[in-house]
């Protein structure tokens, strides 16, 4: 099987989707000739022509708004917002329009679009290249929200998202583009070529939306994570020696509640980890669900390790980023309770 970085896997997913379905169109800022600032669409304009893969004016509202119109016509736009931090000008189009068109037209019009965007920190990007805005989308009815953690999933999930009949927000943790990252920024970078999840089928396959994956089997405590935090949790389990079961949620909405409940009922403990800020973050939803469904199995309060409730700072990146030490402490606390 070929080895791919997450960038190559995303490109392969888009390429295959464009090849299989002439209705798939791809656009965004610097996406066409140059192939995207992270190179996720490199070569696609050459291959499919500039009316199927093109550069847009710098207007996120325009990108998503035209995608919605194209979807109403019958195309399947897969658009890029250059950084998740820049999606806000498009927020109205996503929230008030894309998310509700099926409902308000009683299915007469639909909105099968994918909005891809790099998210998360770990690259010294400061407050405008580091955000994790997933909760702003999971709070909106009508959207699906996906956060892959590795090349194989990224490809399978993106193909599934493009083929999905409803709008999908696809958040790509940029710190994972070139290799897994466990928060040990002082150590050399591991490339995907040395990680088993860098093995990606060259052809068409999907990873279904709404299915989580257990990344590490364990019996003592369940860790709910997604994106970069999956690797941070793995490092924390290893460093504390705690037999954690680590679940990579992969899709936040729809959520694989069965997988979560089964695990927490088994371990009796749960720690939730995300990079986004704490207050009203997706962890709050997860904690509420675990409490509702697993209350009589819980032996410790449900813990949350997240980014602090401040804008993402530049110099204090590693004080902000919830690294393995903070996750490890939370695991120990859950075990001691």
């Amino acid at each position: 099987m070929p080895r791919m970085t997450m960038i190559e896997a995303i490109r392969s997913a888009i390429d295959i989707s464009m090849e299989r379905d002439g209705k798939v169109v791809v656009f965004g800022e610097d996406v066409g000739y140059f192939g995207g600032v992270f190179r996720c669409t490199a070569g696609l304009q050459q291959k499919y022509g500039k009316t199927r893969c093109f550069d847009t004016p710098i207007s996120e509202l325009g990108i998503v708004g035209t995608a919605i119109g194209m979807a109403a016509y019958g195309l399947r736009p897969c658009v890029e917002v250059q950084f998740a931090d820049y999606v806000y000008p498009a927020y109205d189009q996503i929230v008030s329009e894309a998310a509700r068109i099926r409902y308000r037209s009683n299915g007469e019009f639909t909105c099968p679009i994918v909005v891809r965007m790099p998210s998360g920190g770990g690259i010294f990007g400061g407050q405008t290249h580091s955000q994790s805005p997933e909760a702003l989308f999971t709070h909106v009815c009508g959207l699906k929200v996906v956060v892959p953690s590795n090349p194989r999933d990224a490809k399978g999930l993106l193909i599934a998202a493009i083929e999905d009949p409803d709008p999908v927000i696809f958040l790509e943790p940029k710190r994972l583009y070139n290799g897994p990252f466990d928060g040990h920024h002082e150590r050399p970078v591991t490339p995907w070529s040395r990680h088993p999840l860098g093995d990606v089928d060259a052809g068409h396959f999907t990873v279904p939306l709404g299915k989580a994956e257990v990344r590490r089997q364990g019996s003592s405590v369940t860790v709910l994570a997604y994106g970069t935090m999956v690797y941070v949790a793995e490092a924390a389990a290893q460093e504390t020696g705690i037999d954690a079961e680590i679940i990579d949620l992969r899709t936040l909405l729809p959520l694989d509640l069965d997988c979560i409940v089964e695990s927490v009922r088994k371990t009796g403990r749960c720690v939730i980890v995300h990079e986004a800020t704490l207050t009203s973050g997706f962890g709050a939803e997860l904690a509420a669900l675990v409490q509702e469904h697993c209350f009589y199995h819980l032996e410790a309060p449900v813990g949350r390790v997240t980014g602090w409730d401040t804008p993402y700072p530049h110099a204090q990146e590693w004080d902000y980023f919830p690294g393995p030490a903070r996750v490890g402490e939370a695991l120990v606390r859950a075990m001691e309770a």
């Binding site: 140059f34 847009t56 004016p57 710098i58 000008p89 405008t128 110099a315 204090q316």
Partner: protein, 411 residues
Amino acid sequence: MMDDFPPLSLHVPEPEVRPGGTPDFSNVPIPKAGSVPRPPVDVDPRDIRDLAFSIIRVLNREGEAVGPWSGLLSDEALLEGLRHMMTLRAFDARMLMAQRQGKTSFYMQHMGEEAVSCAFRKALEPGDMNFPTYRQAGLLIAGGYPMVDMMNQIFSNEADPLKGRQLPIMYSSKEHGFFSISGNLGTQFVQAVGWAMASAISNDTRIAAGWIGDGSTAESDFHAALVFASTYRAPVVLNIVNNQWAISTFQGIARGGAGTFAARGLGFGIPALRVDGNDYLAVYAVARWAAERARRNLGPTLVEYVTYRVGAHSTSDDPSAYRPKDESEAWPLGDPVIRLKNHLVRRGAWSEERHRQAEAEVMDSVIVAQKEAEKHGTLHSGGKPSVRDMFEGVYAEMPPHLRRQRHQAGV
């Protein structure tokens, strides 16, 4: 009959040349220096619509200042302007190198665009407020902001006035009329209009200046700025820096079917001028004209500076992937530093030798500032802003939940 119509096809604009091609700016008409008239500031915008399609230029090929927009600046003022531009260029060179050495994470340079912000700053009065983008550090240099403080911010060190919170070059200085830079494009343009409206509401005398790049004019903030400025006749100068590129995207993508970016102002009834952005004298003259209009309560002016981004977009970019390597050399408006130098030589106020000397002096002053800044640390070594600073300043008063989190973080 439907049969009469051939099938539709989508128009996607392309630049004239791509890597491998020969740079060609023959499609950029360059009017002769001195050929564009200078209307009175209270002109009816409808009478100067053609200024949105021309280019106001003062310096000609021979280095002379000609025409109705010339004659505003003394030798001393021009020498000072030259020094500001040279300082900005030397500052950029040192900070680019510092980024390569890992002393900071990121940098954006101004190469080729120095005249725009350096000359504009001299047309403002103390108390006026700029709402800049990341490519107007000349406003600070020409405004007397200490280079050491700029560097402290770039290095995110213990003396960083912004406490390490912001990406390098996202400066802020109220005292120097420089609003906090946002990484989100376009947002500041409409805020400039609001500041100007506030000044008018308060019967003040101060004016505002908004700044935006060619690419970013596509954001809705730009259009909202124009309609508010037009409706309330806000005392604001609205500046578009057209450096031909928005990362890898050529200006035709944002401009669309409009002949020029300046022409965007016409539909709003806002006087719109295009100016040679590589001509210090022309930039100053137009800036002063627009600033005077604002100060006389005549309302907003839209100015397009025609220039060229010689360097990469940022330290994360390599332009050879999307434009010919030698495109900047073919740029017909030349280099702003060399053009002003030649003019001063021609005036008898400067010489090649003094210029070389000045280059060395300017570089020395930048190096001295850098040494001073580095005493306070660089991004990964030496003095740092404290972790406490991360929690401070989110609110005027820290709410209990943040206090709890700060405690949890052990600071």
